[in-house]
Symmetry: C2
Subunit: 502 residues, 2 copies
Amino acid sequence: MNATLQNRLGVKELESKVVSATEAAKLITNGAVVGMSGFTRAGDAKVVPMALVERAKNEDFKIDVYTGASLGPEVDKFLAEAGAIRKRGPFQGDAGIRNMINAGDIMYVDAHLSHNAELVRQGIIGPIEYLIVEAVAITEDGLIIPTNSVGNSPIFAQYAENIIIELNVSHPEALIGIHDIYVPKEQGSEREPIPMTDASQRLGEIGIRVDLDKIKAIVISEEPDAPSLIVPPDEETQTMANILLDFFRDEIKAGRLTKQLMPLQSGVGSVANAVLDGFADSEFEDLVVASEVLQDAVFNLIDAGKVKFAAATSITLTEELQKKVYGNLEAYADKICLRPQEISNHPELIRRLGLISINTALELDIYGNVNSTHVSGTRMMNGIGGSGDFARNARLGIFVTKSYAKGGAISSIVPMVSHVDHTEHDVDVIVTEQGIADLRGLAPKERVGLIIENCAHPDFKEQLWDYYNRAFEATGGHQTPHLLEEALSWHVNLAKNKTMKL
Amino acid sequence: MNATLQNRLGVKELESKVVSATEAAKLITNGAVVGMSGFTRAGDAKVVPMALVERAKNEDFKIDVYTGASLGPEVDKFLAEAGAIRKRGPFQGDAGIRNMINAGDIMYVDAHLSHNAELVRQGIIGPIEYLIVEAVAITEDGLIIPTNSVGNSPIFAQYAENIIIELNVSHPEALIGIHDIYVPKEQGSEREPIPMTDASQRLGEIGIRVDLDKIKAIVISEEPDAPSLIVPPDEETQTMANILLDFFRDEIKAGRLTKQLMPLQSGVGSVANAVLDGFADSEFEDLVVASEVLQDAVFNLIDAGKVKFAAATSITLTEELQKKVYGNLEAYADKICLRPQEISNHPELIRRLGLISINTALELDIYGNVNSTHVSGTRMMNGIGGSGDFARNARLGIFVTKSYAKGGAISSIVPMVSHVDHTEHDVDVIVTEQGIADLRGLAPKERVGLIIENCAHPDFKEQLWDYYNRAFEATGGHQTPHLLEEALSWHVNLAKNKTMKL
């Protein structure tokens, strides 16, 4: 064993388990349920899944794959295209697998990310034959130290019959110590309150404690994570960020927030990143991030002294930031923390800590229902992810989207969404590049004007008002006026004429 | 003061506040936001609201009314018909006010029942000029003891500028001691975990502690609660109850539940009541109820030794059971507990305790989305109530409905629900009189066959399959196949031809 490896593999008896990826991949039974590490392209197992791809090319081999969230782009794509996936959950973000999901070739179970752990405990997901988990080290006392995401690995490790570890030596040893692994006990009287009253508190151990007998193979890897592909903010995402910052200022004036705001959760993507970037030159201070994913902006804000602590279940960075952060991880060690997604997304903590939650909508309707997942009601994009965990329980559930798509052919604001992921009861505030609609405390009919006037694209305002006015008339003012014959006609028009414009 | 009243009014200085309902009603300003006690016809303020009705008949008087949940039938109806309500939340169950809501005359804010308290803290609901709360007593140390519901009264009492108490001497003094009033602090580092690991634990005081200076009037009342109008089970509700009991037996066999099950929540209504009644002659034992409302069946099960503890935010009983229970309340004192709805419905506790949640659907679709509130997508029935609090966070989220309505003209299972209250991510199990569909761990396309074959009425099965097969074909097998031109056509057909049958 070389020197690097010695630092990484602290349990001498496990040295005999070191095998090639191909050997490890042979252990998994055709038809098995397999858990994998990985959350938004971060910390995913890489070399063993690629060996599974090779296996599936040569023999009849199909498994159910459950992860934290999305894997690196190639892994899901290649596994899917090799026919190796029967069922996939709870999230994916890759065009290759998405096409097969929408061709009926792969069953996809889209689920709230905080729910998986309970489903594993109950055996609804399972029995899990193998967990394949990327690790930066196995400590002397037998803790598996994940790399730059935690995801569902702790609960998978607890319930899986066997474990394969990808010991990835390309991740810096300085990652050891940034994880905080706390796993709630079984539901019922055994389970205690999660003892966190501040997002910066540590509750558990620095790694995943497992029965070492479960470890059947260790594969050495040097594959780096796929870097985040975040798009730099354009003028419109910048406008949305500015609108949100002004909204927070108004909330402070109204006495509902302070300059420290509340712990911030923001979904993956450029709007969320732009909002966070906007804090850099602002009057806000001592911010706390309590999110799923830490993107570039969070580290810039730590550098700028604006963010005092940031917790999540994953770190996903662009190539440039990755170099910077990984080269100087010690400087961030006491300011960041990676937790299981059951904890980062737990309703108990989201409600208690009073999170401000910012997530992206695919489309939304004039009454405030949000579609996050299905293009024109039928075609899965990525999945609901943690947006439901956060929006339902947050102090402020904010959804952002550009008011239009496809060069103006599509209005992101429609009479009725073609699929509902977030109901009118869970959507507090809507932001587009046009403006903001604060829906809190309003009845459906009170929301319509705000959404159309403040958030819709000018090209579609008249058409939206026309629908609403006729629906109001036809129903005589029902709680939620609709013309059911027409409610989805904008999507039908889009399919037929490539535009929602009449 | 007479002898009874002396026992009820423990703070001598408050005797001067005793006035008539008419006098009390004069205190409230036109345009004010008013909180009222009351949850599912239980514990609602009665005589002061009726005095407000008289006032509204004679002068320009309109207020925003927030309660726990539904009031006694006359109060909402008469307030609405007198034009006294501008805005109403978070739940109602009365045909009189419902008609005005659906005529556009009253703005109705339908909300998750656990969310109100946070909205009050943030001032989104408010400023609350008055709380009108029915009480069985004010103790010597100044605690207001609610009657047979708690609802939102504790949080209203904390934030309201003034309080009017309806001291209702028709409620037995034995109610004193059954309440457990615990109110979480502000969100953020002040707020602690709710220290409950067993549904029978008591966390707080036996009454609502208030600043006594806020009490501006006390009105003596003898108005009894409107009795619950629960319909006795018919053959079909009995079948549904039996199906559910068998499902629980299967879960025990599968090792996912024990004979004690998990704490049970059941919505208001005859199916829920029939399910609970079914436990009486069963092998289940040491059951715990952790619900919103305790109906007749719960007390029968306590008598039968099957339920060892029952907690909720309200007790609503038929006339017969009310006599029996109220006549012997001491016997139940250590077996029941009434809490604020923020606690009975709190996501933190629902997830931690692992509740089994049973709620009623208005309609559901072939992919498992549930509509609980809107008739044909536009017309409000009662509201979402606590069903979202429970279903999202429960260990088992079960929805029940008969498979048909209006003598067979309506199928409760449709291609696409006309309004979504519970998304596919929150619906675990569906039960109709036809059978059961266990959707846990399944992708949308895997759910279709179970829902149609096990739960749909035979008259509609072929029509549902025909829709699904054509949708699958047209989309090429998308994640959630739909024909958007047709998805809501069953409801359109119903409106035009009074049937969903083709």
